[in-house]
């Protein structure tokens, strides 16, 4: 009997696992399309704020000095069937500020405020403007400061000496720089938890696992193939996301590539281990889904993927920092944005590797093949 390398069982397990993965169109969407869409959505929402726009409702019984000022400097346009005056103050450093004034009754102004259509109500009495707004609304406070300054010195720029403001738009401090490493880490977590756990449980419930081990197949080969294919898919997914971020947001990796690879491997080991552990026994995909959600959801929220976990109470930070997804995200961020090297990510990598190996061993101990 002639032996050919394509008849090798590990090769066939990897090949079929790979085919199965790419033949599921939703895998490509959730793995590659979705993170890119998120980064476009959030990246644009938070990085491209080159101008600010405020809505002011003016309430007065008769024409005042205020009107002549606004009519003089503003441009009259129609907006939603009513007349509005737009007064634009140019500022090359902080971006332009646009004030949109609209006359209305007090009641209508309150409604507009409640609906978020207006940020502030302006009245005029005794020769002085009076500002009405929610003091807890930071946006309204800023508007108040800008507007009161403007009404006092209509011809002077808000920030007179541009030298006083130095804009920090360095790479590494933008929101997109914060977001991309988080999305890469989250992608690894999701892909492994769903890819490995779900596929093991599904095969067990389909009796396919039982059918496979009723042959001379080596059990280790089965798991190696499953994990290896996911690992490679994760590399591709992270690569595509990074390429996209580089193309559109000029994201760069400032730190050590070797360190990034180490951390990447460690993260894959950690989540593969957890995935094998939670799928080691159950035959019900519902139970599996529950476990996967119970593990991924809290980390998704706590680990600072979309916003910094420093918003959480002080006492919880120490714990949050030790979550596997936090270790991975913080590590990748430090390499991307702070130029971290091997030394800085050695500790989180080790922790992730250890966690993965422990979970993997525990999972294998109680693994039900049939």
């Amino acid at each position: 009997m002639k032996k050919h390398w394509t008849n090798n069982q590990l090769y066939q397990l990897i090949l079929t696992q790979f085919l199965e993965t790419i033949r599921e169109p939703s895998v490509l969407f959730w793995g590659i399309g979705f993170p890119i869409l998120i980064s476009i959505g959030l990246g644009l929402a938070f990085t491209q704020s080159s101008g600010t726009q405020f809505h002011v409702n003016i309430v007065e019984n008769h024409a005042t000095a205020l009107d002549s000022l606004i009519i003089h400097y503003g441009t009259k346009t129609m907006h939603d069937k009513s007349v509005v005056y737009t007064w634009t103050v140019a500022d090359s450093t902080l971006g332009n500020t646009k004030f949109i004034f609209k006359n209305s009754t007090w009641n209508n102004a309150i409604v507009a405020l409640k609906r978020g259509e207006a940020d502030l109500i302006l009245t005029y009495s005794g020769g002085k403007p009076c500002y009405h707004f929610d003091p807890h609304d930071a946006q309204a406070q800023l508007l108040y400061l800008k507007l009161s300054h403007l009404l006092q010195h209509p011809t002077v720029k808000a920030i007179e000496a541009e030298g006083h403001v130095t804009p920090l738009t360095l790479k590494g401090v933008r929101y997109i720089d914060f977001l991309i490493p988080g999305l890469i880490a989250l992608g690894i977590l999701n892909s492994l938890m769903w890819g490995i756990s779900y596929s093991i449980i599904e095969r067990r419930s389909q009796k396919l696992l039982r059918r496979m081990i009723a042959t001379p197949m080596r059990k280790s080969n089965f798991l190696i193939a499953l994990i290896l294919v996911r690992f490679v898919m994760n590399m591709v997914e992270a690569g595509v996301l990074f390429f996209f971020a580089w193309l559109f947001f000029s994201t760069t990796i400032q730190g050590n590539i070797g360190a990034l690879f180490l951390l990447f491997v460690a993260g894959n080991v950690a989540f593969s281990g957890i995935a094998v552990l939670i799928s080691s026994h159950t035959e019900k995909t519902e139970i599996g889904t529950g476990w996967i959600n119970a593990i991924t959801m809290p980390m998704m929220i706590l680990s600072g993927i979309f916003f910094s976990y420093h918003n959480f109470p002080e006492w919880s930070i120490g714990f949050i920092k030790l979550l596997p997804l936090t270790l991975l995200t913080d590590g990748i961020r430090s390499i991307f944005n702070e130029g971290a090297g091997l030394m800085q990510v050695a500790f989180p990598s080790l922790l992730l590797l250890a966690l993965g190996v422990i979970c993997f061993i525990m999972g294998l101990k109680r693994f039900r093949w049939f």
């Binding site: 009997m1 050919h4 008849n7 599921e24 009796k207 042959t215």
Partner: protein, 245 residues
């Protein structure tokens, strides 16, 4: 020597005694049917013979070897289809066969042979997800036959199939019987299946053997067929479909 020996097998689950002291043996090349209604213990018994479950007590020997000591060796010489295996839907028939062939270190030649044998030639490139029930059963049989097994275990291979698809499968198994190299253990609750395919029949109910022998011996009393015999023995039908007739 008997190829397969089952000695005093007992198996319980939490509150059910699924198999209660079953013993039998079968020589090489014979076809044996385990006939019994749902819940009789057929699957439990067969899976113990396949080395997929451990009996609480008793011994199972294949070619005189036990699963405990010779698992690796025995895996290579048996073939099986489980009662309900759903093969990966997103792989083609040929990819599925190639995967399982690789577990036995087999190549294209043997794959072509089993594809021929199970008449799946024009379905080779079809995704498993698109196959009919009968085609899926033939794929399961093809996978089971890959390693040219000495003993073949088929757990309810035709349950849920239409009469035509059932006949197709019987023809394949009859062809296998003519070759005479394979011992077959088949479970079913269709008496026709046991009658047409098998040399020897074991009637199983409640985890116990009620009757055992060749068809003629079993029917030498007053029973016209196996279902009647089963009614005489238990007061129940073999399966619900018979009731409707």
């Amino acid at each position: 020597m008997h190829q397969l020996e089952v000695k005093n097998i007992v198996k319980s689950f939490k509150d059910v005694q699924a198999v209660r002291d079953v013993s039998f043996s079968i020589p090489q090349g014979k076809f044996l049917a385990l006939l019994g209604p749902n819940g009789a213990g057929k699957t439990t018994l067969v899976e113990m013979m396949e080395g997929l479950r451990k009996p609480d007590s008793g011994e199972i020997l294949i070619n005189g070897k036990s699963w405990l000591k010779h698992e690796k060796e025995l895996r290579k010489i048996i073939g099986l289809s489980l009662q309900e295996t759903r093969f990966t839907e997103k792989l083609t028939v040929r990819e599925t066969l190639r995967l399982f062939a690789s577990f036995f270190g087999l190549g294209n030649e043997r794959m072509d042979e089993v594809i021929d044998l199970t008449d799946l030639g024009d379905k080779q490139k079809a995704m498993v997800g698109t196959l009919s029930g009968g085609q899926r059963q033939r794929l399961a049989l093809a996978v089971a036959l890959l390693n040219s097994p000495e003993i073949l275990f088929l757990d309810e291979p035709t349950t849920g199939l239409d009469p035509h698809a059932r006949l197709d499968l019987w023809n394949i198994l009859n062809a296998l019987k003519q070759q005479g190299n394979t011992t077959l253990i088949l479970t079913t609750h269709y008496m026709e299946e046991a009658e047409t395919l098998c040399d020897e029949i074991i009637i199983l109910d409640n985890g116990k053997i009620l009757r055992q022998g060749v068809l003629k011996e079993l029917l030498d009393g007053h029973a016209k067929n196996l279902d009647e015999l089963f009614i005489q023995l238990t007061g129940r039908h073999l399966h619900e479909e018979t009731l409707d007739k």
